[in-house]
Amino acid sequence: MNTFAKRAGLLSLAVFSAMPVMAQKTASQGIDEYRAMLADGNPAELFEAKGEDLWKKLRGPKNASLEKCDLGKGPGVVKGAFVELPRFFADTQRVQDLESRLVTCMEGLQGFDGAEIAKTPFGQGEQNNVTALATWIASESKGQRFNLSQNHQQEKTFYEVGKRLFYQRGGTHDFSCASCHGEQGKRIRLQDLPMLSKSPGDGVGFAAWPAYRVSNGQMWGMQLRLNDCYRQQRFPYPGFGSDATIALSTFLGVNAKGAISVAPALKR
């Protein structure tokens, strides 16, 4: 610290009563305290309850429930399914994430038009139901460790494609996912950024979504999380359940191997 900076520091201490460095420390401690105060009573619980109800309810043109939906561990198995997705499904011959798989089930079992749901904007109509279902299904794997399969060739391929997407720079700002999530210990404004090119640890990044966003009072699944990342990257719009979003999820999910899921979480 040079003399001037020292003097400036002392001056600001005298005038404003708080040195910038101190304010800094207080800010991050203060935010931890704020988050702790909100931890009890996550509104995501409202969506969990709704999702569980939707799973069991007879709905759609076929007036059926989703209780026979195969999320990868056999028809109707919900517990533990979330921490193994995305994965390859033989019936669709595709790698699918939780939300695109739910749409497949809503189409096959209940008779909904899957393409119509995929076209519906987030936060409207059946998309709200997909989010609530994903929230409940995620909650049923709370505390379990991520363990995505890389056995099928398409799963390996999607990981490789996802890695390329993670590092793909573009848009007006040259941003890639890695611009913000490629290094340890960085932040945007006051928000800590998880490093996602390897496991960011328990309950961080991929292991924290779906999450309730306090800033807008909305429940977000991984599809919307990625969609809004791409929006802020100034990229064009990624289709709901598109291969790009699923490949990227595969990359993030495989990297998160061993991390404990806390979803549904509470986020800024």
Partner: protein, 151 residues
């Protein structure tokens, strides 16, 4: 816009209705529109029946130093003082200061938590109004930060 007299008349009517419905001893409050329409802390407390504002260490305000987002700020009021009628939470710089009123009740502790929206950094007030109208308050500044990418 409702006149104060109309509001009072309506409140009285609702109170009578509730009394006849079998809760005679419970201090049932109809929505106090005047208090919630007040812009300032002072006016809101006055509309809720508070006559004098006095700072007090016996009223505890729970609030974070800093809020990561102003849309959800956890705030609470508690007090062990006897004779409390109403407990109020207010945000000074919100367009309408009053957030919530909790009626004190023998069945409950005077200890309430909720979450408020804050448009900007502001003092938050916890006010306990006693039977004689005295309004005892505690306050704390909560910093609201601009989060995320700002987009």
């Amino acid at each position: 816009m409702q006149s104060r007299r109309q509001t009072l008349q309506r409140s009285a009517a609702i109170a009578a209705l509730l009394a006849s419905a079998g809760f005679p001893q419970f201090a049932q409050a109809a929505f106090n529109k005047n208090a919630f329409d007040a812009k300032s802390v002072q006016d809101a407390v006055k509309a809720a029946g508070g006559v004098g504002l006095i700072e007090s260490k016996d009223v505890t305000l729970t609030a974070p130093d800093i809020a990561e987002n102003g849309a959800v700020v956890p705030i609470g009021i508690s007090t062990a003082l006897p004779g409390v009628k109403q407990l109020l939470l207010l945000v000074e710089k919100n367009p309408l200061a009053l957030v919530a009123i909790f009626q004190s009740s023998e069945a409950l502790e005077n200890n309430f938590l909720t979450r408020a929206k804050m448009g900007q950094t502001s003092d938050v007030y916890a006010v306990a109004i006693l039977a004689d109208g005295k309004a005892l308050w505690a306050k704390k500044e909560v910093k609201v930060t601009l989060g995320g990418c700002g987009g």
